[in-house]
């Protein structure tokens, strides 16, 4: 007869995970890939915050004598054509990448939530028009939309953030709308209405907070694409302007030439982009499993 090891089962389910550290240990055991993603993201975040402490060179100072210096010595990852230290540029590049990624995602989510909430909660003709409009925006590929936007706005950091955030709006609006449609039928919404609360307050105080979980999941996934699109835009010469150290920009223009002569200029920025996006994707997958168990496979 099979016997159940109660202690082992309780441990596996995390039932006895005590306090913050216990819960954390449980989550790491349960979602090892997600934990790896979180570690990568925290490392990149620390790199961005303490950029000044872990680099010796200024990322924009040129030095003709160090031009195309191979990795090693005082330039651990080598130097580019203008003699700028690659390690510094990669470390400071984390700031640009995260600032643009997080900025664009936040902005996109903000507008997406507003539009989705209004469209879902109030419904009617407003909903119909907004949904058709979102359909249209989604028919344009993310990169094309961002390309046109950034070309129209001109190259700068804030314009790049705006250009990337706009194509993110429809996806967020969709998800928030479908959640709102479900939430507005909840008994507690009915109850708030019965006690005479006005519709806008109900939408903001009772519906909005309950869309937070899907929003976190979606936001993480969007962060990955925002970082990728920024890299692609800058690679095409239309995102972050010089002399800001953007990972995508470092791969642009002459990169095909350096493939022959200075491969370190091609390898490291690409590794940085891939790691950042890989980290958000791992974390995003785990968050989706935690917050949305229906999709768990």
């Amino acid at each position: 007869m099979a016997s159940i090891d109660h202690q082992a089962e309780l441990n596996r389910a995390g039932a006895q995970a005590g306090g913050f550290w216990g819960s954390l240990a449980y989550l790491i055991r349960r979602y090892p890939l997600g934990a790896a993603g979180a570690v990568i993201m925290i490392a990149i975040l620390l790199m961005a915050i303490f950029a000044g402490w872990i680099t010796t060179f200024d990322p924009t100072t040129t030095n003709s004598r160090a031009s195309l210096a191979p990795p090693g010595g005082i330039h651990p990852l080598g130097a580019d054509f203008m003699g700028r230290d690659m390690w510094s540029r990669i470390v400071y590049g984390a700031r640009i990448s995260l600032a643009v990624g997080i900025g664009a995602t936040t902005l996109g989510c903000l507008f997406g939530v507003l539009i989705g909430l209004m469209s879902g909660y109030f419904g009617g003709w407003l909903d119909l028009i907004v949904q058709r409009f979102m359909d249209m925006m989604q028919s344009l590929p993310l990169l094309v939309m961002a390309l046109v936007m950034s070309a129209a706005l001109g190259p700068s950091i804030s314009n790049t953030i705006i250009a990337i955030s706009i194509p993110l709006v429809p996806t967020v609006a969709r998800v928030i709308r479908s959640n709102t449609l479900m939430l507005r039928e909840m008994p507690y919404v009915e109850a708030s209405r019965a006690v005479g609360m006005n519709e806008v307050s109900i939408a903001l105080r009772h519906v909005l907070p309950n869309t937070l979980a899907p929003l976190i999941v979606l936001g993480t996934a969007q962060l990955g694409s925002a970082i990728l699109v920024e890299a692609a835009l800058s690679f095409l010469g239309l995102g972050i302007p010089e002399p800001h150290p953007s990972w995508g920009r470092m791969l642009s223009e002459s990169a095909a030439e350096y493939v022959r002569t200075a491969p370190w200029l091609v390898i490291y920025p690409g590794v940085a982009i891939s790691l950042a996006v890989f980290g958000t994707n791992l974390l995003g997958d785990a968050l989706r499993d935690i917050f949305d168990p229906r999709l768990r496979h």
Binding site: M136, L143, V148, L236, A255, V259, S274
Partner: protein, 315 residues
């Protein structure tokens, strides 16, 4: 089916109309008149020339008239003139279409032949080491920028073979051209295959839990027969839908990959037109891309309706 088709067709036209308005307005509300930008770009100084340019572009007319002029031109196949070569834009674009179409076709082909079987394997062997490895590989496929993957491929060519594929001279034989194009297609297709693999996996897992799969197993059908005849057939529909979404994804990959490999295709032409600040051409090219994406989505929806006997749209 008939009414569904007509309704879907009308929706498609409405969507395209909306997109055309969005693109048109977007490129006009931006700070800086198109004439000013072209004017600066062309290095002209005479203000009479600027006025001439404005009336040539029709920028002195009301915005609604400008829109109608543009759209009716598009309908006649008149995409305007490019400012760099002073050729009709259509003549520049048409010879580039087959190149991009072949590249996209090959990328999609790679994506499907790798993505679907690996997704099935991953689902059938759920939670094994193989599944974990395949999931990490597919997740990394979604994380590598395709332009960087392209650069890495170029690097491998330089390092191991000592040469780089060149695309400016088209090979005479179709087969040679396809072989050459399969190199950048691998860079574009890797990302697409990762997406298809993830979707195939979750779609298969969904189906494998159904009662009819248990029945098939119970009646003694072989593993292969259960997995491929019973399960994959039912799992394939959502996979077809993703190919529609993939069309939009592929465009992004094509833009950067054509730039990396220096391939004279339509996608790179968009980047060039943006660099030249040739906004009339940008506007028409974006519209062209939208038409392709929307049409692919429409075809996918139709395929869906035809392939799934459970779905009836008439009521």
């Amino acid at each position: 089916m008939g009414t569904y088709l007509i309704r879907r067709l009308l929706m498609m036209i409405l969507t395209l109309f909306g997109i055309s308005v969005i693109i048109f307005v977007l490129l006009r509300v931006v700070p800086g008149n198109i004439a000013d930008i072209l004017f600066d770009a062309a290095g002209m100084v005479n203000s009479a020339e600027k006025q001439k340019l404005e009336s040539e572009l029709g920028l002195d007319k009301p915005i609604a008239i400008q829109y109608v002029t543009w759209i009716s031109g598009l309908a006649r196949g008149d995409l305007g003139y490019t400012y760099v070569s002073e050729q009709p834009a259509l003549e520049e674009i048409l010879p580039r279409i087959p190149v991009t179409a072949k590249l996209a076709g090959l990328a999609l082909f790679f994506a499907i032949i790798f993505g679907v079987p690996l997704g099935v394997v991953s689902a059938v062997r759920q939670n094994t080491v193989l599944d974990y490895v395949l999931r990490v590989v597919s997740l990394s496929g979604l994380s590598l920028p395709s332009f960087w993957l392209g650069l890495l491929i170029l690097m491998a060519f330089v390092h191991y073979l000592g040469w780089i594929p060149i695309y400016t001279n088209k090979p005479d034989r179709l087969w040679d051209e396809l072989v050459l194009l399969s190199i950048p297609a691998a860079a574009v297709g890797f990302r697409a295959s990762a997406l298809i693999m993830r979707l195939t996996r979750s779609s298969m897992l969904e189906v494998l839990r159904q009662d009819y799969i248990r029945t098939a197993r119970a009646k003694g059908a072989s593993r292969v027969s259960v997995n491929y005849d019973h399960a994959l057939r039912n799992a394939v529909l959502p996979i077809i839908t993703i190919i529609g979404i993939e069309a939009a994804f592929l465009v992004g990959g094509l833009i950067v990959t054509e730039t990396v490999f220096n391939i004279p295709g339509v996608a790179r032409f968009l980047v060039e037109a943006i660099r030249w600040r040739d906004y009339p051409v940008v506007q028409s090219l974006v519209m062209f891309i939208a038409v392709v994406v929307v049409t692919v989505n429409f075809l996918v929806d139709m395929a869906y309706a035809v392939l799934d006997p459970r779905i009836r749209y008439d009521n």
